[in-house]
């Protein structure tokens, strides 16, 4: 139990002295300065800091509350985002990472759905149809799709022929270690077809990625690049020891076409010297021909590369022995004595030793242990098969060419060869990030039960989730932290059985909903995963946001979509407050518009029905008043009567409505309300007077004399109406 309490035991771990669980270096104490560009004029009165998306901080800067109304136009505050730290390693830019993330969605989703259908087939105990592919073939398809996203490091062979001085073919694009790692995983775990010629595949792999495998020490690739830059300045190339050194190195790692090309640069090929150096030239050419005839245990070879391919082992063995015999024959040939150019003689002899598999020469010709390893496959043990023997060979090479600081690719390589799945996962995660480990798990488990158990076993220490789920969740977390990639996080979250849906809900709820477009994209995800609850919640949040910003139309729309009866009733009850008050102009328009917006649906129907009627009444009344229009006034009376007759009109509004109607009761051009109608209104007033005696009665906010005023008006009107009807 290291470090739970400071100095708890005598033999305590040094870190436990500070009482920290995780040791951390003091380097992290160095403070970093991030300039803020808020563009506000001082004085700044308040600054508040909160976490934003991913590793960014949201800093809100507030100015002094404006005391001077004239300085209008300047914002009272601003929110700026500060991104902390540098993102990832420099090899792959953020935009490229996003491109990889986008591109891997479809292959991942396809593989998951195939996995589910295969699982359901086996659950039903149906034998898969004969046309069905083996599982590893599906994974292979997935691996190829993903691999194509990571860049194509294939060399442009055209330059080989065009420019005689261009020894080393130019890469179309720089190879990435991510792609190199992916290919390694694919080669070892998925591609069943290549198992038989794994050593040859490793030869190809090294040819593609030799430039990556070493951090500080030279490689054959780096030596070649260096030499190529000087090649033009060399007069007599075969006199330079580096030339022979380099040819041997290239031969040792199997870059035969480069070796042959370099050999043909030999001075004895030049027309003016051919006559004098005939034997020498013959020897060089003989070695070049031998090299180009090298038997290879592989189904085919890329165009532009040389060697003779054999698919079947017996054929290969026969050819191999014949080839070796030819080399031995050449080695003991009498022509060597006639060759008087020392460097050529020694260089060629050295090459023959490499081809004969002389360990010492191989060791001195190669730089990196991986290069030595590859040379073993090519010239000493072409039949190496099985991870166990490959691993012991790797250990041997590693001992011979030890490096203290192995590259992440090499660490992964050792993990793979050592058949240690946990190490492989850890190296994927440590060296290549969360994307790699989340996607490479599929490769790891493609053919191995052991890995399958490791990855899918539910772990107590992880809260009951499996390693696979853990890595997917971590990757989804990373995706969620970016404005543009959060939308693909659900694909990964929903493939996580235990925690996925919960985290998806949290993710969706955390997305900003200020913009309708973003909200709709969010709702679409809710629809796809049938998260109706979250969807209504988001609509409610958005509705409230719009309401606060004065976009009432939008707000009511979203609240209605969310069926948020509580808030809608809240809005409606605010509208009731205006009943009986004199509202005019702009605010009446707002009030009227809101009633219109709320419509006549749902549980609010009763109350809204009243509001609609009241609105009509109020509108007619305003018309009648402003234009002295008798028709409008008559309409207003009709509205008034229908309001007072209707049972849904709340009692507390009777008096305010009647008070509004005073203007109609005292209409100059004669009584508008007949005797019967006036009696009805008087009855209502009587009812109201009785009701006022009850303790729970709520008084309307009206002038104290309102009741008397109404009563007097009604009485007067009754008198006028009776006279009028006589």
């Amino acid at each position: 139990m290291p470090g739970l309490a400071p100095g708890d035991s005598a033999g305590g771990v040094p870190d436990s002295v500070n009482g920290t669980l995780v040791p951390y270096s003091s380097d992290s104490h160095v403070s970093a300065i991030y300039p803020l560009r808020h563009g506000l004029n001082p004085p700044i009165s308040r600054v508040s800091v909160s976490w934003g998306r991913g590793n960014s901080l949201r800093v809100s800067v507030f100015r002094q509350p404006d005391s001077d109304p004239k300085s209008d136009g300047e914002a009272g505050g601003k929110v700026v985002e500060v991104t902390l730290g540098k993102s990832r390693d420099g090899e792959i830019s953020d935009a490229q990472w996003r491109k990889i993330a986008y591109g891997s969605v479809s292959p991942f989703a396809l593989l998951q759905s195939r996995k589910n259908s295969t699982a359901s087939l086996s659950r039903m105990q149906l034998s898969p149809s004969p046309y069905h592919l083996e599982w590893w073939e599906y994974v292979m398809e997935y691996s190829k799709d993903i691999g194509s996203l990571l860049g194509d490091p294939k060399t442009a062979l055209a330059t080989l022929i065009e420019d005689p001085n261009e020894v080393f073919p130019k890469k179309v694009e720089e190879p990435s270690s991510l792609k190199a790692a992916w290919e390694l995983m694919e080669m070892f775990y998925v591609d069943k077809l290549s198992q038989a010629w794994l050593p040859e595949r490793l030869v190809d792999w090294l040819a593609d990625y030799n430039s990556l495998i070493s951090i500080d020490l030279p490689t054959v690739h780096s030596k070649l690049v260096e030499f190529q830059n000087q090649i033009v300045t060399l007069q007599v190339i075969e006199d330079d020891p580096r030339y022979w050194d380099l040819i041997s190195s290239a031969l040792a790692v199997g870059w035969l076409e480069i070796v042959v090309k370099l050999l043909r640069l030999h001075g004895s090929y030049r027309l003016d010297q051919l006559g004098r150096r005939e034997t020498e030239n013959g020897l060089v050419e003989a070695v070049a021909v031998l090299i180009s005839k090298m038997p290879r245990m592989r189904p085919a070879i890329d165009a532009g590369k040389i060697g003779e391919c054999f698919k079947a082992k017996p054929d290969f063995v026969k050819a191999w022995e014949r080839w070796r015999a030819q080399i031995t024959k050449l080695d003991s040939s009498a022509f060597w004595i006639q060759c008087d150019h020392r460097q050529t003689r020694e260089g060629l002899k050295n090459m023959l030793q490499i081809m004969l598999g002389n360990v010492d020469v191989l060791c001195s010709s190669t730089c990196h242990w991986m290069e030595l390893y590859i040379s073993h496959f090519l010239y000493i043990r072409p039949f190496t098969a099985g991870l166990e023997s490959m691993y012991s060979l790797a250990q041997k090479c590693f001992r011979l060419k030890h490096t203290s600081n192995p590259h992440k690719l090499m660490r992964l390589m050792i993990g793979i060869l050592g058949e240690n799945n946990e190490v492989v996962l850890a190296e994927c995660s440590r060296g290549f990030g969360t994307w790699m480990v989340a996607h490479a798990i599929e490769l790891l488990t493609a053919g191995s039960n052991e890995a399958d158990i490791l990855v899918h076993e539910e772990r107590e220490d992880l809260g009951g989730i499996s390693l696979e789920e853990l890595h997917r969740l971590v990757y989804a977390q990373l995706l969620s932290s970016h404005l543009l990639t959060w939308q693909i996080a659900p694909i990964y979250l929903t493939s996580c059985m235990r925690q996925g849906m919960g985290l998806l809900e949290i993710l969706l709820l955390k997305q900003p909903v200020q913009e309708n477009q973003m909200l709709l994209k969010n709702l679409e995800i809710c629809r796809l995963y049938e998260l109706d609850g979250i969807s209504s919640h988001l609509m409610e949040i958005s509705g409230m946001y719009h309401w606060k910003h004065g976009r009432k139309g939008c707000a009511v729309f979203w609240l209605q979509q969310a069926h948020d009866e509580v808030r809608l009733s809240g809005i409606a009850s605010q509208l009731f407050d205006s009943v009986g008050k004199s509202i005019s102009g702009e605010s009446f328009k707002q009030w009227e518009g809101l009633i219109e917006l709320l419509g006549s649906e749902g549980q609010l129907a009763g109350g809204l029905d009243f509001l609609h009627k009241y609105r009509d009444f109020k509108k007619c009344l305003q018309h009648a008043e402003s234009r002295k229009d008798a028709d409008a006034a008559r309409q207003a009376v009709e509205s008034l009567m229908s309001l007072m007759r209707n049972a849904s009109t709340p009692q507390r509004f009777w008096l305010p409505i009647l008070y509004d109607a005073v203007k109609l009761l005292s209409w100059d051009e004669g009584p508008l309300i007949n005797v019967g109608q006036t009696n009805l209104l008087l009855n209502k007033l009587q009812e109201l007077s009785v009701a006022r005696l009850r303790p729970d009665f709520v008084e309307a906010e009206l002038p104290t004399q309102a009741l008397n005023h109404v009563r007097y008006s009604l009485a007067t009107n009754l008198g006028r109406a009776i006279l009028g009807e006589l």
Binding site: E81, S93, D94, A95, Q96, R98, K99, Y102, V105, S106, A109, H482, L483, L484, Q487, E515, N516, L520, K521, E524, R527, H546, H549, G550, R551, K552, G553, C554, F557, Q560, Q561, E586, K589, Q590, G593, L594, E596, L597
Partner: protein
Amino acid sequence: MAVIGIPQTQIHRLSQSKYVDSIRWLPSVSPLQQSAIVAFFDTDADSPSLEVHSLDQESKTLDLISSWVPPSRISSLKCTQAFAVASTISGSLHVFSATEAQDPSSAFRSVVAADGKGFHVGRIAGVDLMDGGSNECVSVGEDGRVNLVRVLDGSYRKVFDGNGLVSYTAVKWASPTEFVTGGCGFGLQWWDLRRPGSAVAQFKGNLEKGRTSGIIHSIDVHPSRKHTCLAGGSAGTVFAWDLRYQHQPIILSGTSNDTAAQPLSESEVWEVQYDSYTKSSMNNFSSSKLLPAMFCSEDGILGVIDQGEEPTELLAEPCAINSFDIDRQNPSEVICSLEWESIAIVSRP
């Protein structure tokens, strides 16, 4: 019945490493040149840009001609023969000369701009300009305002102010004096400048009982049928509203049960345009039949709907198609902006 040798629809996807907010073809200044105006948003630098790119016909790659930095992200972008007009989420509107924009030697800048508190509050949701129209640009916003901006001098006048009680999300000119707006609840409004004050006709979005309502995202009006407007919005809805039969919208696509054809999309339809390239089937041709329409959707579909026919799918992407534009001079060419920071060019045979 397989016919050999039919030229295939070609699709080119161009990765951009920036989010594409909107994309339009620009009218060609020469028959050999094809260029597009693109509204980008760079999330790494947190900066928007409006760029003009020429399209290489052979390799289908985009080459930057000119670029301009708007004050904020572009919310809507439209092009006519003479002008390109862009609005921003902060409520400003900018007009560019379409020919100058494609000329690398001239500075790419807005010839006219309108903004300020009296113009729009917050995001301008839609803008439109009409070829041969009044040279006035109509803009609508979520704030409920409808403004007209004179392209010549940038002065603007208010047509309507909804005071936030309505929110407009799309707009399209129908004639030099009429335009259509759309908003929440599948609502459409027909405006006539000769009868100011309010909309002359309204569609309240009661498409069908029991359907969930939604938002109109895009409107199109065909110059030969000015009384009908085509609208696209939420839940895969594409419908036509004929002013002569205001209570009978024609639903072309949507999630209702009784439409015979299975809809291509059930998610947001971000844009609709009449597709002059697809020829309507002649045997049941009549003037009452709607013209074929193209749409793009959140679930990654670019499709063509022809009334009474099975819809056809031009493109099915794993991510959303946020906007598209049909080249007017060469309608077989369609350019789309995709959610995953890329542009797709569809060349039909």
